[in-house]
Symmetry: C2
Subunit: 214 residues, 2 copies
DNA sequence: TGCGAATCTGATATAACGTCAGATTTTCCG
DNA sequence: CGGAAAATCTGACGTTATATCAGATTCGCA
């Protein structure tokens, strides 16, 4: 469980100078990802931005995807904070607050790491094993937590037995992720971020508890 | 509104031979997109697959994205069929059937055009104008139809006024799209396609009507 | 048949990839 | 402090892809 130490391509662990270079390369990659399509990311350009040569990049990463994979892992470090919010209560009006906290946390997570998460999901959908694994690792706790809430409400007869708790959890996460990545587009269409968070929170709440709040 | 006739890069409209070549290039692009990451699509390879030269490709498309954009437009031609299903009734048990039809239609649409739609959404999220436009054109009728159903149920007091009808429609579509693109992954985790469709249908139904069906 | 239009492609300049041998910088021991 | 060894970086290069254009090829039809 200890964070693996970064290595170079020949497997040697890195000293402080190397670590710094590597981190700079990662930051440059993320910055470029914010302004260019993932299809246009060039190793040369990443290197240029750091003031180093392409050969240096290849010392630390097999290719651009590997660098992005590292960024995805760094982004995943914020997630425990989101999972914590999910431990809130689900009864009555409090449940809606819990749902709002989750919805808001997702939007914020995507505001910070959107470009990187977008590539994570792309590669995962394209079937890339490594990206699937990190996506799975990041979201499974969230999905499972939601699924458990659904199951509890199913036992209490509040939610239909025809629903698969796990599929429901996944669906909600799917919705939150995509809406988070789209919310900038909505603002242009006159839907504020707050409305979006509120709407998603209510769908989430209603789905997992079966209850509607006026 | 008439389908614009395909042109080559100098604006000339195409004869039958050219049209066939162009279509072959598009098909090769789609086939390649099914097996390689979008980051790895190469014009040379598309050309090779058709048994022609890269120069021919550039006669018809500015670059790979333009070819994909054409594929996206072709894929969008199936959509009216989905929109039709949404005209079904929303009262009582019938509502759930309508929801199921929509959910199922989405999954089928993605089964057929997944690779292309994935790129459409990627480029749209990356901010590409053209891809945003076609995505918008394809999904707006669906979103608007759902939003109208939500509004009707809000007027009848069944759905909370705190929800933004348009955001709700978008959220549901977001969920359906992503779940459709993921369903293969779920099957590995023991959730069948049928369960997925049913679960999404119920979330959709409950969200737009405020009602739950046992 | 042969001409003009339509279509295709070889050749090429430009640019990125990815590797490796060797240069440069840092560390640290005597 | 001096200098060798370890760590880190990079110039140079063979390979592959992009994107363009002039000219070759193919087609329809008078």
């Amino acid at each position: 469980m200890a964070a693996r130490k970064p290595q170079d391509q020949t497997g040697r662990t890195l000293g402080p100078r190397a670590l710094q270079t590597r981190q700079r390369l990662l930051e440059a990659t993320e910055a470029l990802l914010d302004q260019r399509s993932v299809r246009e990311i060039r190793v040369v350009e990443i290197a240029r931005k750091v003031g180093t040569s392409p050969a240096t990049f290849y010392q630390y990463f097999r290719d651009v995807e590997e660098a992005i994979l590292q960024l995805v892992e760094q982004a995943a470090e914020d997630l425990p904070a989101i999972v914590e919010r999910m431990e809130g209560p689900w009864q009555g009006g409090r449940g809606l607050d819990t749902a709002r906290a989750i919805s808001d946390a997702f939007v914020r997570h995507w505001d910070t790491h959107g470009a990187v998460l977008r590539v994570r999901n792309l590669k995962a959908e394209e079937g890339d094993r490594a990206f699937r694994r990190v996506r799975q690792a990041a979201l499974a706790p969230v999905v499972e937590r939601l699924a458990r809430v659904v199951e509890e409400h199913q036992k209490a007869g509040k939610v239909s037995q025809e629903i698969s708790a796990w599929a429901a959890g996944s669906s909600i996460i799917a919705m939150l992720e995509r809406m988070s990545s789209y919310h900038a587009m909505f603002e242009r269409a006159g839907v504020t971020r707050a409305q979006l968070v509120e709407t998603c929170a209510r769908i989430l709440h209603q789905t997992v508890t079966g209850r509607q709040v006026a």
